[in-house]
């Protein structure tokens, strides 16, 4: 994910003189990457696990601790505001959770407002799973009359002016016409009642997770105090989103105040909650995973450079305090990786392990290679095609109707299904080379994919070879000689037979199936003129296709 920062703003938040090279180097070691610098704007790519770095403030915070300017756990002072949020019944199956915070003394110039919006969008699209799990709203605090009610309402009874509009709209109208309604409407559309956030004067704050009110949810340069709410379907995600955005705003000097949320079952929660989570890790485990020999002090220092609180504990352990804006810490290994990053990836020396194993190619590869060598020996040129193709090539032009694995979301019809045979693919190849010198002798060794319900993934994947010859004059007899040479050199002398067949791919009387030990293993012949026409081929073609089950190897 790309975060756009103003360089002077970022450097002033970092608060220490850095050259752009030093900044780039620090970010690189912190998992982020400078993508582009243009004028005063730097584009920084942030990995999706570091949602807390999706803002200029978050990046500055990470760099500050990494460069030992402000290491250790960042403390956010939270004052109780005493303000109430009341959650009404009926939201359990729709969007049960809400967490809120108040920020006083927010700096808001035009650039900053734009950046807050970006952070909000970025957080809700990835972490919030396109607003399904969590969505964020910012409001002008001073316009609100607390307590705020989080409840439900019938869609047609919902009426307010949505952000960016001047006229009032009702719920169904917003979903049908407002761009955000069209984009995210599916999240609530099926419910009889929709979630609604309104204040004690009855003013609507927003229709979560679709859109804010234009009156209360429009932040301007005049706005000094903010009310932030996050609603969603997953409590942890909602809390984390609130923590990330609240902490980001506080980085610019705003004072955080908490609110009290009362659920219908009388559960009460005070949000935001920045008291860190704890995890204990053993020094031995750290060194075992990283291959380093770090003592407790160095581990603690590395953790502090990554913004953790850390202190040595009894029994060669380290007690770690995890900042509340981090949402990617599921397991001690996540902390251990941060120790490696805090220690410095550039300081870790590669070491070759002594793991002793013997290598080998797969028997199927060996069989494929053998067939490729034999084909080259018969003066065929190897070609490689995509596995994906179209039903037009596989079935329509071939006059076939064989089952084919079909994708639901192709970007183009030409690559929408998996090939179930190589012959059509090579005919397609030949049709694109009418201008090249003749004779043309081409082959491909590759897998074909045949639907088969009995298999785990409902397909059978078969290695195959297809050889194709086209020239002003072609000859089935010499093709037969070549197939014979191929099969005999696979150790199948006296184990194969050709049996005249009436396959519609070929001219009647010029085609046969190939049977290996009595099993149908392929076919050959001279391609019928209709099919040549369908492919737009002007020269006659003989071709064969042979399946290469691994049982052919080593016989």
């Amino acid at each position: 994910m790309i975060v756009e920062c103003r360089i002077n703003d970022l450097l002033s938040l970092i608060g220490e003189k850095l050259t752009l090279e030093q900044l780039e180097e620090s970010l690189f070691l912190l998992k982020a990457e400078v993508e582009r610098i243009e004028g005063n704007v730097v584009e920084i790519e942030v990995n999706p696990d570091r949602q807390d770095m999706l803002s200029t403030e978050g990046i500055a915070r990470a760099v500050r601790s990494f460069l030992d300017i402000e290491p250790g756990l960042k403390k956010y002072n939270v004052k109780k505001s005493g303000k109430q949020i009341i959650v009404q019944p009926g939201l359990n199956k729709i969007r049960p959770f809400i967490c809120c915070s108040i920020l006083k003394g927010v700096r808001a110039d035009d650039e900053l407002i734009k950046e807050y919006m970006h952070l909000q969008e970025a957080l809700t699209s990835t972490h919030g799973r396109n607003r399904k799990k969590a969505s964020i709203g910012l409001y002008v605090y001073d316009e609100l009359e607390f307590p705020i009610i989080y409840g439900t309402e019938k869609p047609e009874k919902i009426r307010f002016v949505p952000l960016g509009y001047e006229a009032e709209m009702d719920g169904p109208g917003i979903l049908a016409h407002h761009e955000k309604g069209v984009e995210f409407g599916a999240i609530i559309e099926a419910h009889k009642r929709w979630p609604l956030l309104y204040d004690s004067k009855g003013q609507v704050l927003s229709l979560p997770p679709i859109i804010n009110s234009n009156d209360l949810g429009r932040i301007t340069t005049e706005t000094k105090n903010l009310f932030v709410e996050v609603t969603g379907t997953h409590l942890l995600t909602v809390q984390q989103a609130l923590n990330i955005i609240t902490a980001s705003l506080a980085e610019r000097g705003a004072q955080i105040e908490s609110v009290t949320i009362t659920y219908p079952d009388d559960t009460v929660e005070e949000t935001p909650d920045f008291s860190p989570e704890q995890m204990t890790i053993s020094i031995e485990d750290v060194n075992k995973l990283l291959g380093l020999d770090l003592d407790g002090d160095r581990i603690t220092r590395a953790l502090e450079r990554m913004g953790y609180g850390a202190r040595l504990a009894k029994g060669e352990k380290v007690r770690v305090q995890i900042p509340k804006y981090r949402m990617d810490i599921l397991h001690p290994v996540d902390i251990m990786e941060d120790i490696a990053i805090g220690f410095g990836f550039d300081k870790i020396q590669p070491a070759m392990p002594q793991t002793m194993t013997t290598g080998s190619v797969n028997p199927v590869t060996r069989l494929k290679n053998k067939v490729r060598d034999l084909m080259v020996g018969m003066k065929y040129l190897e070609v490689m095609n995509y596995i994906m193709t179209s039903t037009e090539v596989l079935n329509e032009r071939m006059g076939r109707s064989r089952p084919v694995v079909t994708t639901s979301n192709p970007k183009s019809r030409s690559y929408s299904v998996l090939r179930n045979s190589l012959l059509p693919v090579l005919l397609d190849f030949a049709s694109k080379n009418e201008h090249a010198d003749y004779p043309q002798r081409i082959f491909e060794v590759g897998d074909i994919i045949i639907p088969d319900e009995s298999k785990e993934t409902c397909v059978d994947q078969l290695p195959s070879v297809c050889g194709l010859v086209t020239d002003a004059k072609v000859n089935v007899t010499s093709l037969m000689t070549e197939i014979g040479f191929l099969l005999r050199n696979l150790g199948l002398d006296n184990q194969f037979e050709f049996e005249a067949s009436a396959c519609s791919d070929f001219i009647q009387g010029r085609s046969a199936s190939i049977k290996v030990r009595g099993r149908l293993s392929g076919f050959f012949g001279e391609i019928s003129p209709e099919i040549l026409n369908n492919f737009g081929l002007g020269y006659p073609v003989v071709a064969f296709e042979l399946f290469l089950p691994s049982s052919l190897n080593g016989t």
Partner: protein, 502 residues
């Protein structure tokens, strides 16, 4: 020699071979002692069969006109005039000199005019009489020389812009004659047979035959030499695809490093594709914008091992006793059995681990993957990945970097930079950048140590190092290819010219 040639054709070809260059029909006629018309007719027959290449060009030569012939015989009138003047004591009346020179009165004007223009003589009036006197040397007249050489048949040596020639043309003493010259040379494909042609026609041995060997008839005779200095012709024999050869080379390297090759299906269940890799079921990588879903004829596959399925389910929902929090989110069988085209080769690593749970193990795969992309210069819906895992007791992050260094060195990239990365199934995760001669720092691929949430459901407690390199990207860098579509080019001419050399 594949062509049947008549004696006449052989004779002409022999002449052509002996001349060893592009030669005119006249030259061939001369060396073969044939007449030119016959040579031309035989050359035409050979050209039709592609044995010789003919080229017709126009040649300009010069012939004397009647007046020119007269002057060539008697000398140019102006020269005769000045000569007579000299013999008359260098200054004399015009009429006297004219009579002495013996030139016809018809040409007296011409003689006088050119003698003056060439500044050989000066004319002045004394009353009614014209007096001539010599002032220059006439003996080195280029015009006379040109006339003489054309008369002798050496006109070819004169440049067409020679002023002397121009004067001769202007004075209509010579005229242009345009003749067509037919020139022949052996066609490129036939050059290699040139020696055979000679062999057929000389006493020296061309083809050594079984009869000669058994009779000993070759003894004491000379072998006609071949012209072994020529460029061989271009042909289209069979060969392997350069990209396939590149992938073969990667396999060779992996086997050399002790890795065993493994395979897995292109059509995967999301269970293997994502769940087993601890990718949350609502992760964006599973979206239709990112990976291909299979719609028909079957859109869901089967779970083959209920016990493993349950273990994976638990890890997702609550960490499953691995020390992880899990995703704290309901896990659905409907998603697990959904069919997709595998978006990476990592499910193959999981299938390998499923069957090989005891250390040590090293496995690799070089094969195709699919992403829902539109085909363009930079993006393709199919790409090959070279991926491997190493499982052993006590393997560490430093070992991972060690292996990456060894693998990259083996493919010719010496200078590396490691950056912490992020993949849902590894922790720590590493991105590797390599210094390429021409392209600078390029991203080579991702790697990491499998998370406990990935290995522990299989009962694996040892570290598993995993890494992947974009085979196609590496090949493009090695071959200087900029358009990703060239990996699977359908241009036969391009393929016939392309090769992979290491």
């Amino acid at each position: 020699m594949s062509e049947q040639l008549t004696t006449g054709e052989k004779t002409i070809l022999k002449g052509l071979v002996e001349l060893r260059r592009k030669s005119s029909a006249d030259e061939i006629a001369k060396i073969t002692e044939q007449n030119t018309e016959r040579v031309i007719s035989i050359l035409n027959a050979l050209a039709v069969r592609g044995i010789v290449k003919l080229e017709t060009r126009e040649k300009i030569s010069y012939a004397l006109t009647d007046e020119g012939k007269e002057y060539a015989r008697d000398g140019l009138p102006e020269i005769r005039l000045v000569k007579a003047l000299e013999e008359s004591g260098r200054t004399a009346p015009f009429e006297v000199v004219l009579t002495k020179s013996g030139i016809s009165p018809r040409t007296k004007g011409i003689a006088m005019a050119w003698a003056v223009r060439n500044e050989w003589a000066h004319a002045s009036k004394q009353g009614d009489t014209t007096i001539l006197s010599t002032i220059g040397d006439y003996s080195k007249s280029p015009v006379a020389a040109a006339l003489e050489s054309i008369a002798k048949g050496n006109g070819a040596s004169i440049q067409n812009d020679d002023p002397a020639l121009q004067q001769l043309l202007e004075r209509k003493l010579v005229s242009e004659v345009i003749t067509k010259i037919i020139e022949a040379e052996l066609s490129r494909n036939y050059l290699v047979h040139a020696e055979d042609i000679l062999a057929d026609l000389t006493e020296d041995i061309g083809n050594l035959t079984p009869e000669m060997l058994s009779s000993g008839a070759w003894k004491g005779r000379k072998f006609r030499p071949y012209n072994v200095g020529i460029q061989p012709e271009y042909v289209n024999y069979g060969k392997k695809h350069p990209y396939a050869e590149f992938n073969d080379w990667l396999r060779e390297i992996m086997v050399g490093l002790g890795f065993t090759e493994w395979f897995g299906p292109y059509v995967e269940t999301e269970f293997w594709g994502h769940d087993a890799l601890f990718v949350p079921q609502d992760h964006v990588a599973r979206d239709v914008q990112d990976q291909f879903r299979v719609a028909a004829p079957y859109d869901h596959g089967h779970i083959i091992d209920k016990k493993y399925y349950e273990a994976v389910k638990n890890v997702h929902e609550n960490g499953g006793g691995t020390g992880s929090k899990g995703w704290d989110w309901p896990y659905h069988k409907e998603v697990a059995t959904r069919l997709c085209l595998r978006p990476h080769t990592t499910p193959v690593s999981m299938r390998f681990l499923y069957q090989h749970r005891e250390s040590p193990q090293k496995m690799f795969i070089v094969d195709r993957n699919f992403r829902s992309e539109s085909l363009s210069v930079t993006h393709a819906h199919e790409f090959d990945q070279c991926e491997g895992i190493i499982m052993d007791k006590g393997l560490t992050l430093r070992n991972l970097l060690g292996y990456l260094t060894a693998i990259c060195k083996a493919v010719g990239i010496e200078k590396l930079k490691f950056k912490p990365g992020q993949f849902p199934f590894t922790e720590p995760s590493v991105e590797t950048f390599g210094k390429h001669d021409k392209l600078g720092w390029i991203e080579l691929g991702g790697s990491g140590i499998f998370r406990p949430e990935v290995t522990q459901p299989l009962g694996i407690r040892d570290s598993v190092l995993a890494w992947g390199i974009g085979a196609g990207r590496l090949y493009m860098a090695a071959m200087g290819i900029n358009d990703i579509r060239d990996l699977f080019s359908q241009d036969l001419n391009w393929l016939r010219r392309s090769y992979f050399v290491r």
